[in-house]
């Protein structure tokens, strides 16, 4: 038996009938067709499914879609205006912060939440902010570099942070 879910996803107000047990990540991927949010584990370790829920980073595999009722959700597809790039996206590109790219949307969304609160994070603060995300390709060196570069670009006013 479906229930009505009302959410705003990437600025679009939606109303959908969903099964009570539907996970938020599957709602986003299958109902909304936003496949940039990935599933990498089933015990909420990897963070590939991270999205912003009212500005906070959440693991969308770890909550039911209905728990997001009334919320504003931002996924990787909605982080920057259509055709543009958020400073984090630019920084991941410029600093080779991704290889296979599977974990990347989750890292970028978690970093977006971090930078919204902390405009100049230290290495340690970046580590704490991204401790819920796993990458198997990069060894994290260039991810840390990218987050620092993005923070600097944002401080210099290249663009306004989303969800901040």
């Amino acid at each position: 038996m479906g229930q009505t879910l009302r959410v705003t996803v990437n600025g679009e107000a939606r109303s959908d009938e969903v099964e009570p047990r539907l996970l938020l990540v599957h709602y986003l991927r299958e109902t909304c067709g936003l496949t940039g949010t990935h599933v990498g584990c089933d015990t909420s370790q990897c963070g590939a499914c991270t999205v912003l829920l009212d500005g906070a980073a959440v693991k969308s595999c770890n909550m039911l879609a209905l728990q997001a009722d009334g919320a504003e959700i931002t996924t990787i597809e909605g982080l920057a205006p259509e055709g543009g790039l958020h400073p984090l996206q630019t920084a991941f590109w410029e600093n080779h912060g991704l290889q296979c790219g599977y974990c990347t949307p989750g890292f970028i969304m978690a970093a977006a939440a971090l930078l919204a609160e902390n405009h100049d994070p230290s290495d340690e603060e970046i580590g704490r902010g991204l401790e819920g995300n796993l990458c198997r390709c990069t060894g994290y060196v260039n991810i840390r570099k990218a987050v620092k570069a993005a923070a600097q670009a944002m401080r210099e006013g290249a663009a306004a942070p989303i969800g901040g």
């Binding site: 990498g40 584990c41 089933d42 015990t43 590109w93 296979c100 580590g127 198997r136 060894g139 060196v141």
Partner: protein, 781 residues
Amino acid sequence: MAVTQLIGARVQRREDPRLITGHGRFMEDHTLPGLTHLAVVRSPHPHALILGIDTAAARALPGVLAVFTAADFHKVLSGSMPVTPSFAPEKKYVPERFPIADREVCFQGEPVAVVVANDRYLAADAADLVHVTYEPLPAVVDPEGAMNPGSPLVHTDGPDNIGWDMTYAGGDIDAAFSRAEVVVKERIIQQRLAPSAMETRGVMASYSPYSEDLTLWLSSQNPHFIRLFVSGAMGIPESRVRVVSPDVGGGFGSKISPYPEDYLVPAASKLLGRPVRWIETRTESVMTTIHGRGQVFTAEAAALRDGTLLGLRLTQVLDLGAYHGTFGAFQACACLMAGGVYRWEAISARTVGVLTNKVPTDPYRGAGRPEGTHLCERMVDRVADELGMDPAELRRKNFAREFPFVNNFGLTYDSGNYDGTLDRAMELSDYQGWRQRQASARDEGRLIGIGLSTWVEICGLGPSAATAGATGGIALVESAQIRFLPSGSVAAYVGTHAHGQGHDTTFSQLVAETLGVPLEAVDLRHGDTAEGPAFGYGTYGSRSLSVGGMALYTASQEILAKARKLAAHLLEASPDDLEFTAGAFTVRGNPQAKKTIQEVALASYGGNLPAGMEQGLEAVSHFDPPNFVWPFGAHVCVAEVDRETGAVEILSYTGVDDCGNVINPMIVEGQVQGGIAQSIAQALFEEVVYDGESGQLVTGTMLDYLVPTMNELPTPQLDRTVTPSPTNALGVKGIGEAGTIAASAAVINAVCDALRPLGIHHVDMPASPDRLWRLMQEAGR
């Protein structure tokens, strides 16, 4: 080849715009009209007989379309899953493997039934309703115990548990040991590892009974081999099977060999007449995707008092799991590479592949080479320790210095400069400074150690003479196809498969530079068997550039040769009088007489061609390398062990590697950083644990299997030297596995060096706080 505008440049990746915006297209992002969802019912027992399968409750659940068991699959699948000769051609026992268990399950997670439903949640529900009655049998867990004649059997109908038992003899080992002034012995464990690509496996299949063809989407490093295997098992002509491996979220070797689901999903599509998709959960992945390593080495090294290495004698006991991995015996190359970068009089290496009731092992990033390097570098350090020599000095005393260098097993190292990388690594890491700081730290009671790893690898698989036999017939050469379209844009197809390595970028750099066209004009395609050459050989073994890149290079040269003839015709000159620079042919001495490659491409589709020339400007090339390639390097790790907790902190990590010429240094650095991280993860954190009695997987999720986060890993300092490979025109080697091969030995050598004052000479992996704390407690008694 000199560094030119594009080759050698830090070009930003062309893959990234889609991946950073959420527009990558991974396996699970693909769907089809009428798609159904498959879930696998798996054995909870490592070893049991199947007494009965009751599917009634599952079938009765609304939305469930079918429940299939082995009996159903026997109607559409035949044969046994493939096992290649690899480095153990003479196998003693190869159990047959059908993709789904019939009578007996031999590892936890082995498929016993599948459920297909309209919805993935329903499929999972229904899988829980399939009731299987088992009669549990004793589980064989320990590979060394499994070698004993009285051991329980992994397969009840097997003769014993020995998959292979063979010895590689490289020189007169008894003579070498007879001259020994010092002999050290060690037992070195390579724990099982879960490759843990962030994207799990997945398969979607659509079989059409009308055209009798099959399209398969799967997350694979190796789509053409999967097409070959699946078409054979299903009895569909290879030409009517299309395999698409789209964006793939990491492989690390775990997506090379075929898996049961690669057969079961298309077979279910054929049985049901609907498209079917299965996506592996992480829990399924840790349990049923291949594991790597899983080896126990016993080794002894003989040397003279002055540090001259004489002989190395070793036995590798390789935990095969319940079946041979398709390329499982590749891991025996640990034996062939156990001599590392040193001159030995003789090496004798016995490899024993032993079956156990666990998921099969197969190549995982480095595949045999990390194990061989770890063994060699540990033994060399043990000799230095025994002689009281500085480990750097002992290494230098024994380095191979004349190239080509033929090792004890007849393998020919193409080029090297082991002093060069070690010198630079010692300088960059401040090795001598750390030795002084170590001494003062020891005076304060702190445990600081410095570890070296001077490594070499065999990669660039591989010459047909060596590889055709190893796969059972198909040489691991590489193919490429390049086409100029009339407008001057270039479509390039390769048989390798990128899943993070950035080939779209580096290969485009290579093609654009060679053909003299803008980077934007090149479209690089891979991963779809419906495009490009007839066969592609996949990406593994750091082969893509030195074999696949060379195929692109030779195809480019063929195109240029034809273009030169056509340009000469158009310019009314002799081909020999033309120069090709910056994408244009000019007549020597008359630069006004000029045809750009794009003009030539357009003309090639026209009517004014030299006599006998066909239309078009395209080429297919297969590159068969004359030898493997042999990257090398030197890594230095400085680590401190906490006396109270046993925790290891890496204080400094330095890697100086040499992979010959480089197309894109940014990508090379990224590969090394990631490789080092995976190897440090083995050294300090990761281990697949099975309960020794029950055979149950203990580390079943990412809660227990410790893939490190950002906070557990250092930022390595990196540098490179450049010693081109003489075996290919580009002078390139490979870099995908280098960090993984190098780092574990550097880290464990550092930990052992730190613990030396306590009388501890060897530590196994992972060097967890728990393990080190216990060792220190025992040493203190």
